[in-house]
Subunit: 336 residues, 2 copies
């Protein structure tokens, strides 16, 4: 099946009766060859099934035009980001090398393979790397952290504006007529969670609803959403007409708990999630949620990588992108 040896530049050159240098010129589509020679060389290359050897190419040319990307293969949100990165990289004529993390393949390992592939910059969707890791890696290659708030003087950060997301959620609900809006928290020891909680309170304040602020203890999972709703319904006093939640997972849990308790969403109570996970768009969930602008995030990550490679001076190391509100079926005007 597999033919003995893949054809090289030399094979094409010999067949076309020219030098390897000229074939190289033709293959790279740079000036330096006449139209007719160009056509002839291309014809031969096509006929022999020549494929340029990426490794030899970059070994010689010094620069690989390669951006290394680390991501978790078990999380669909990162799939979205990788999709965006591929598109963005193509725009600026860079290639992507992917290195996945799995439960058995940690981030250090993933980064090491990217380094060995001689990527010119790294885009990391990291969860576990430490400041020491960042120091070590960024000493070798520019690093862009995508999607997570990391504070390290040597890395660039492109991430979503969580605060703006919650402002939009609250604005949307207030516009619909809601006043009694609760927030279901994402749990203690979690910086993302506290940023979202604070933003909720600020947003309520901006609408003069400071006295209506109600933060419910919650968490990041469906089960957390279920429990929080049970507590909420058992509590005395007027029920909120709407809830914003830490994320979609807990929102999905909350919705099923509400419906199980005989309340309908959104007629009796509106729900807004966060993240726009794929599950949020499923027919039977149809969750209104805050969606990160993955296209912009990835475009900026790619261009920032390029800037660093080219040594372009960068003003702000951290760029924060406003998300959009994806209005679906779990929000409506309050009853009455």
């Amino acid at each position: 099946m597999t033919s003995g040896r893949r054809p090289t530049l030399a094979d094409v050159a010999a067949d076309a009766g020219v030098s390897t240098a000229l074939v190289s010129i033709v293959m790279r589509d740079v000036p330096g060859a006449s139209a007719e020679t160009r056509a002839r060389v291309l014809e031969v290359a096509q006929r022999l099934g020549y494929q340029p050897d990426q490794r030899a190419r970059l070994l010689r040319s010094g620069h690989s035009r390669l951006i290394g990307v680390m991501f978790d293969v078990g999380n669909l949100f990162f799939g979205k980001l990788v999709t965006g990165l591929y598109a963005a990289a193509e725009q600026i004529d860079y290639q992507l090398t992917l290195s996945g993390t799995t439960p058995a393949r940690d981030e250090r390992t993933a980064v090491r393979t990217l380094l060995q592939d001689r990527c010119e910059a790294l885009v990391l969707m990291t969860a576990t790397l430490t400041p020491a890791d960042f120091a070590e890696i960024s000493a070798q290659v520019p690093v862009v952290v995508l999607g997570r708030a990391v504070r390290h003087r040597a890395v660039d950060v492109i991430r979503n504006d969580d605060a703006a997301g919650l402002h939009k959620a609250v604005d949307h609900l207030v516009e619909l007529g809601h006043r009694r809006i609760a927030h279901l928290d994402g749990g203690a020891r979690n910086s993302v969670s506290s940023e979202r909680r604070r933003a909720y309170a600020t947003a309520m304040g901006r609408h003069g609803l400071t006295d209506r602020i109600q933060v419910l203890a919650g968490g990041a999972t469906e089960a957390d959403g279920v429990r929080a709703v049970r507590r909420l319904l058992a509590a005395p006093g007027p029920r909120p007409t709407a809830i914003t939640l830490y994320n979609d997972q807990s929102a999905i849990g909350a919705i099923s708990a509400l419906r199980l308790a005989g309340l309908s969403v959104p007629e009796d109570i509106s729900v807004v999630g966060f993240d726009d996970e794929p599950a949020a768009s499923l027919d039977h969930i149809d969750l209104t949620t805050v969606g990160q602008d993955t296209a912009t995030l990835t475009r900026l990550a790619a261009t920032r990588a390029q800037d660093r490679i080219q040594g372009v001076p960068v003003r702000q190391r951290e760029v924060i992108i406003p998300p959009g509100l994806v209005v679906r079926g779990t929000t409506a005007r309050p009853a009455g």
Copy 2:
């Protein structure tokens, strides 16, 4: 931040006062260096932050010990398979190069980059490649198709035994006491769907339930599941006490339609899906389903790739792996 140039073998050699060849020997951990020299070279390499250049290494050595993997970054099931492949590749001391497909990056493009990276074999989780593509690709490098029934004389196939999956589903329901078991089909023009439908019928027959066979027109989406259940409930005659479905998506739709109609799952009706998607294990779905043996699938794909690289003769080009039944909360004894 980034230091001028990454250290090379020559840098390490100069610093340690030995030849580059010797450093190479030490780095590859092959015999030919004394223990003390080895230690000294390693110390220098560590100190300089030397990382071997993967490209130069394989350019010289001819073989890359690299397996190219193509997968869809937008599908979590493939994430599972990639996870398995990483583990399997490590076992046999190969590295993986990932090339993702996205809506904007087609399979031809993905394969081309893998070829340029000089992978020694390709593991393709393909949906769109044609026989002509397979012919062209497999002429250059061994090809293993993972997870899909492709019939082409030049490629190996490792895939799940869909028929066995449906047999297990039906056996499980019969064992629980069900007799009136329906099957919700995955739609017409779809070879996977018809294999599953036929297997359902065969399984029913083996339990002497040929006269209870009931195939409902369905599809692959949640909406299809919802519609099929509505039709089922509107139809006259006794209701089935259990349904097997084409996949998890349609099963999730079916469940929500059943519950909306006031029926409880599994008390009134049992439901079995197919694929064990991540959504199936969510708390509020908790779907009994047929789960593919991804560990075995990926292990075999990797070793098959290795066999082809090494020219080991292969008896059967297609290997079909039995799936397992993941029993969760949507199946129970029938009422009465």
